[in-house]
Amino acid sequence: MRYLYLLICFGVAGLLLLISSCKKDFPEDRDSIDPLATFTRTFYDPTLGRNTVFSDNFNGANSSQPLEFTMLNLRRYNGDPAPELTDSIYPIWVWKDGGAYTGKETSLAEIENKRKIENHRVFEIRQHSGQLVTWSGMDLSHIRSQPDSGYKFDVKVSNSGGLNYYYNLRFMPRKAIPYAPSNYNPETGMTTGPAVSYPTNGISLSNVQRLKDGLGMQESEVDVYFTKKGTGNSLTFKFLDSAFAPINPRLFNTTDWPGLVHGFDMKLTDTAVVYQVAYPIPLGPIPTKYTNAAATRAAVTFSYYRKGTAGFGYVCALVFNYAIYEKGDWEIAFQFRNSSPKFSND
């Protein structure tokens, strides 16, 4: 009997040894990181002053997801440290979970409720996706923007399978332009003229006639003036005639004033219409009744009805697509350069 026990013990021990020694040689179940994985975009030139997300900028090839991205050595082009990017952290408004902005909010507070304050640097990398984000709402005065050579940075990409380094990616931001369409020169950050004029004025007209001669008015005859009047939360629309005298907005008699912008507390006077709004405009790239179809810009339509030649009725409209990225008391003035529109019936 003693032999048997000995034998069994010996056998079991040998078997366990064998199994355990075999297991040691198996590769671990670790993530894969492909040496061929690469950034498909190495040059990032966002316009400052707006939230920009660079997506699909990394091809993971055969790597397993999720990956861990870390931005390293964000530095000026000449190699100097860049504390304006690495050290400056600002509290800014970001969107929070719990429902995206839909354009159906009924008060300013409801919109603001969908945002919260988070601390961010101007230029960040998203931890798992490798998306590069520039945030808005910060002091941008120290940031070296184009035509400066900007900054360089490295990225470490890792997962449990290993890590890859990617060196000397470029960050060359463009100067902030507070609104679009704009009259700014992106190189200098200065306006090129007082008004936004044709062909970049973002205006389209239909059936609008000149008061002067009854001819159809061209888009080139309207200039747009963006003016920031304060640091509040309002948006004002004004119409000016060729002599910069205000035109009564009520003349645009078929305009849907309450639904013109996603603003509240509308004050329609003889000279202007004012809304309390949330910035930026548009709030998100989501198509709403206040935006164009692609949701890239807000869209306003000022329209009026008049009887034209031979008693035909016309709906005349001025459509304007725009965006304002900076919070403030903004005023948008449309100046009819040559002649006011004709509002009266023929």
Binding site: S64, P66, A100
Partner: protein, 1077 residues
């Protein structure tokens, strides 16, 4: 007195008996004293006695049995080395023969016999069997390899086209899954884990490459993976190659598992070897045995659908609700419904039916099979003829399987036993109707069977022609198989034998389909495909066996060479516009539009091997066996040369040790085995090695041959190499009431081929690399218990078979850790090879529930964009897919490796009960720890995607989903997304197959068969001049216990995917009779 008579016959008995006698006698003194008395007695007894000479044979192997104890009355002798004995017995006396390994036998001396033959049946008990190891048969106690023997008793009474179905759950380490209920289909067999992890096809047609073991039927090797060239890797147009042998004719199946047993089979034995022997003639008087089975095949529960008005109501509501709720446009919804006459024109009799389509496809069947066997013979010559007819019409219309087969075998042995000749011929003709699919898949049933119930029932004028087509199509698939074998053994001098065996097989398979014109856009079409395959096999060996030094040492060895030739070719012709709906050719078709030629790549493979095997044992205590084999195949790379495959193995029979002598009261035997060896499996084809060339246009008047730049040739292309280590234990306890067999194996498979992309600069696009490796290791346990005493009236044998297998991928090309297979899969169901995990894993989106409210959808803090799929924003009622990379977009980057489609634990439990003449058997099998993708459930929900299908033939029925917890209103904590937002769901693929929502545990426990049998009493049979009469009642595939919510946890591809078009397994109830005249 016993002792005295034994002494008298001292001139004859074996040396063994002398020594025993002397020992027992204790001295010669008493012998001398007794001698005078003996002589006196002897004279008186010899007066009535005669000398009876005879030979004792093993009933199964026909080999003489040495050392059997033959007694007549009080006298006893032992048989010599060729089984002969000579004994004095009076006429009418009974001769009893006993042997340790055999059941006792008796023979009544009638007088005048010159030379009697007595056949011994092997006693049940694992160690007494004679089993095959390598090319030779050995006593179980001398075998160093792991193997399992299944006998006719284990597989009788259950109807099946091939023996594989019957072995499910009966062999440890052999995982058999009946992946299709198609009659005659080939199930999948995995012996000791995966043998090949290549995947062919994609979507629902993705299959794991077939890596089945080598079958040797009566000495004829059968390529188990034949007819898998064209992608139908599991069940092709042809039937299971094993179905050529009716299970009724099978005597035994020996399953060789480890390297020690299979290594000499070299290039073809790496996935295991199954040696199948058919029944042999045994009785001097010819016996005629008839087996008849009458089978009722019942349809398993089918899919539920809403019928008629309810279907219309649901679809209309779906459109209205969806447009009102999500698009806020009720009127638009109303207009959409009105615009779709299929939904709105409810008074149109064409669109106002309630047809149960499945009832047209499915129906129970009555089937039968008959087997007739003539057999007889003696030691010098025996013969058997087996005739079989089997009909198995499938539960799906127009599908079925019929087999006519004939098998003959016979053996001749010269009187001096110097020459032995064994021949066998097995021929079968198999007919298959595939209905509207290739057998495994029933796409016709899948699509037409799920057609809208509102459509009118099938007839010539209706839209649903596919349904009609699957009933009417003349689908005629024939497979004729002929296999013949000749096995010659000649004893040149004592101990030296020469054996030569050769076999040929011929296979012709044809698939013919004729489409009448009214089913095929107005013109007829005849498709025909012919496959012919031949194999030639020859093995020559020289075998030497010698015992020496007081017979304590035995050395035996053999050298051998074998050659295997494998050829196959398929031609295909498509003849459009034949004269009319009744004439399908051969003339009169549209010659210009006809297509004919060779299908796929013709196969012409040769494999040649030679080697030697040596074994040695010391007093049967220590057994050592080693072999070395060289293998060359014509589809190796030329620079790889011959493969060298060594094997070494050892066995220790503990129970023969001196110290174990005292244990014999409770331990009958106990042995430990160990083996290590290498085997190879050829893979790929000759084009992987030499590249592909094609004739180009002429250049300067000379014909040109151009290189095809698809796949780069690999002159070092290697076969798959298996290196297997096996450690086993066998033991019998308590008078063989308990037998245990345990094996641990560790199989390292390397050089599996994978086509990898190569740089553009090489000129080629793919390169066949040999860089995939994995490890299979596992434990196998076979337990047999006979708890009741031997003299109990009720006998009960309980068997448990279980195998635990783990499978780990260890290497990929380019040192990658992960590899996506089929990245562009049409159903988005790629597989993932990932190191450290099971050889292949599912690559899925992780579903974490359903968004209860719109406010639950995460929002990108920078852009305000909610989570989105394909640019569509998610909303309440949508699935929550885990956004792994945090970019607020669900795309292919969010998939993870989850699940293990390879079952980890498989086995079965069997119970044999016998009481008087009644027998009651229950066989069960189980499969545990397997992840299955429930694609039918996903498909069920996907049927809600398109309520507005504009082509009538494509309109689908609506299945009930009430039983599922799906999202209905904001705030619902649901499991399944809202099925009714159809356009949105289709846009975001809410019910995509590749999500963890549909991955389920595919474990199951199945009752394979329950049999109640009755053997008529011998006395009764004598009166009727019958030898055996047995009737039985069997229910097979009776019940499956599983948590799996899909149709069946077994009808699942090897890749772990269920299939909405799968062929369900039928339930069978059989009434059978066995008569022997």
């Amino acid at each position: 007195m016993d002792k005295i008579f034994t002494v008298l016959w001292l001139h004859n008995p074996t040396r063994l008996s002398i020594s025993r006698f002397n020992k027992r006698q204790g001295g010669r003194l008493r012998l001398h004293l007794l001698l005078p008395a003996l002589l006196l007695l002897m004279c008186s007894i010899r007066a009535g006695a005669q000398k009876v000479r005879g030979t004792v044979f093993d009933e199964q192997s026909r080999l003489p049995v040495a050392g059997a104890n033959v007694t007549a009355g009080a006298r006893g002798v032992y048989t010599d080395t060729v089984g002969r004995f000579e004994i004095d017995a009076a006429a009418g006396a009974t001769i009893a023969v006993t042997h340790l390994n055999y059941s006792p036998a008796t023979y009544q001396v009638s007088g005048g016999e010159a030379n009697i033959e007595i056949y011994l049946k092997l006693a049940s008990g694992a160690l007494t069997d004679v089993v095959v190891q390598g090319f030779t048969k050995k006593s179980r106690s001398l075998v160093t390899g792991a193997s399992t023997v299944i006998t006719a008793d284990d597989i009788k009474d259950v109807p099946a086209a091939s023996v594989t179905e019957l072995l499910q759950g009966k062999v440890a380490g052999v995982n058999i899954q009946n992946t299709s209920g198609m009659p005659g289909a080939r199930g999948s067999i995995f012996q000791r884990g995966l043998s090949n992890i290549n995947v062919t096809g994609d979507g629902n047609n993705a299959y794991l490459a077939s890596g089945q073991p080598l079958f040797i039927i009566d000495g004829v090797p059968i390529d188990p993976n034949e007819d898998t060239e064209y992608g139908f890797a599991q069940a092709g147009g042809g039937a299971n190659p094993l179905s050529v042998i009716p299970p009724e004719d099978i005597e035994s199946v020996e399953i060789l598992k480890d390297a020690a047993s299979t290594s000499v089979y070299g290039s073809r034995g790496a996935n295991g070897v199954w040696i199948i022997n058919t029944k042999r003639g045994r009785s001097k008087v010819p016996q005629i045995t008839y087996d008849g089975k009458y089978i009722y095949t019942a349809v398993p529960p089918l899919r539920d659908v809403y019928g008629g008005h309810l279907e219309r109501q649901i679809k209309v509501n779906q459109v209205l609700y969806n447009n009102a709720q999500t698009n806020n446009a009720f009127n638009w919804g109303l207009a959409t419904v009105n615009a779709n006459y299929f939904l709105s024109d409810s008074l149109n009799p064409y669109l106002n039916n309630s047809v149960n389509w499945q009832s047209y496809f499915f129906g129970p069947q009555l089937n039968h099979s008959h087997n007739l066997r003539f057999a007889g013979g003696m030691s010098q010559f025996d013969y058997k003829v087996n005739l079989n007819y089997m009909q198995d019409m499938g539960i799906i219309k127009n599908t079925g399987y019929k087999r006519y087969s004939a098998g003959i075998n016979s053996q001749y042995q010269s009187e001096n036993k110097k020459i032995r000749m064994l021949t066998s011929v097995n021929a079968a003709s198999e007919l298959r109707q595939n209905g509207s699919g290739v057998g495994l898949l029933q796409t016709g049933v899948g699509t037409s069977g799920m057609a809208s119930t509102l459509l009118p029932p099938p007839n010539v004028y209706t839209e649903n022609n596919t349904a009609l087509a699957s009933f009417i199509l003349k689908d005629d698939n024939k497979k004729n198989t002929l296999g013949a074998n000749l096995d010659l053994t000649y004893e040149i001098i004592k101990d030296l034998r020469f054996r030569s065996t050769g076999s040929i097989t011929f296979n012709t398979t044809s698939y013919n389909i004729f489409y009448p014109g009214w089913l095929n856009y107005g013109y007829t079409q005849y498709n025909t495909q012919d496959r012919s395959a031949n194999t030639y096999y020859n093995l020559n060996m020289l075998q030497y066996t010698r015992r020496f030094l007081k017979e304590k040492h035995t050395v035996s060895g053999y050298v051998f060479s074998d050659l295997n030739v494998n050829k196959s070719k398929t031609t295909y012709a498509q003849l459009p516009s034949t004269p009319n709906n009744f004439i399908s050719g051969p003339f009169g078709y549209d010659l210009r539009a006809a297509v004919y030629g060779t299908l796929g790549e013709p196969v012409d493979v040769r494999q040649f091997g030679y080697g030697a095997n040596v074994s040695y044992d010391y007093m049967q205590k220590y057994v050592f066996n080693a072999s070395f084999r060289f293998d060359g195949t014509s589809i190796n790379g030329p620079l790889t040369g011959f493969n060298r495959n060594p094997m070494i193995s050892f066995r220790w029979n503990i129970y023969k040790e001196k110290f174990a002598e005292g244990w014999s009261s409770w331990m009958n035997s106990s042995s430990i085995r160990a083996s290590w060896g290498q085997t190879i499996v050829p893979q790929g084809n000759i084009f992987m090695v030499y590249g592909q060339y094609y004739p180009g246009s002429s250049y300067n008047g000379q014909p040109s041959v151009l290189n095809s730049f698809g796949t780069e040739p690999n002159a070092y292309y290697k076969p798959i190499t298996n290196r297997m280590t096996n450690i086993g234990y066998e033991g019998e306890f308590f008078n063989r009431k308990l037998t245990i067999q345990y094996d641990f194996y560790y199989k390292f498979v390397q050089n599996n081929s994978l086509l990898i992309d190569v740089p553009f600069e090489t000129g080629y696009s793919k390169y066949p690399s040999n860089d995939v490796s994995w490890v299979d290791y596992g434990h196998e346990l076979t337990l047999n218990v006979r708890p009741l005493p031997r003299d109990s009236k009720l006998s009960w044998t309980f068997g448990l078979v279980g195998a635990f297998n783990r499978n780990i991928l260890t290497r990929l090309p380019n040192d990658a850790r992960e590899w996506v297979i089929n990245p562009g899969d049409q159903l988005n169901l790629p597989l993932l090879y990932r190191l450290g995990r099971s050889s292949f894993s599912n690559y899925l989106f992780v579903t974490k529930g359903v968004y209860a409210r719109n406010t639950d959808v995460p929002v990108d803090p920078a852009t305000n964009l909610p989570m989105r799929i394909n640019g569509v924003y998610l909303q309440a009622g949508d699935p929550i897919f885990a956004d792994l990379n945090g970019d607020y977009v669900i795309d292919n980057r969010d998939r993870v490796a989850v699940g293990n489609p390879v079952p980890k634990l498989t086995g079965g439990i069997s119970n044999f009960l016998a009481y008087h003449n009644f027998t009651f058997n229950i066989f069960t099998s189980f499969t545990f720890f397997r992840d299955v993708l429930n694609t039918p459930l996903a498909y069920k929900f996907q049927q809600f995607y398109n309520p507005l299908n504009s082509t009538l033939s494509g309109v689908q029925a609506v299945p009930p989903v009430e039983e599922y917890n799906y999202w209905k209103a904001p705030g619902d904590n649901a499991v399944y997304p809202n099925p009714y937002t159809y356009d949105h769901n289709a846009a975001i693929a809410a019910f995509r197959y590749n999500q963890t929502l549909f991955q389920e545990d595919g474990s199951y426990f199945k009752i394979n068969s329950i049999t109640l049998g009755y053997d008529f009493k011998k006395e009764l049979l004598k009166r009727w001049h019958l030898q055996i009469l047995r009737v039985f009642l069997t229910g097979s595939n009776v019940a499956t216990i599983s948590n799996y919510s899909g149709p069946s946890p077994e009808v699942i591809t090897d890749l772990g995917r269920d299939n909405p078009y799968g062929y369900p397994l039928a339930r069978r109830y059989t009434l059978g009779v066995t008569v022997t005249f």
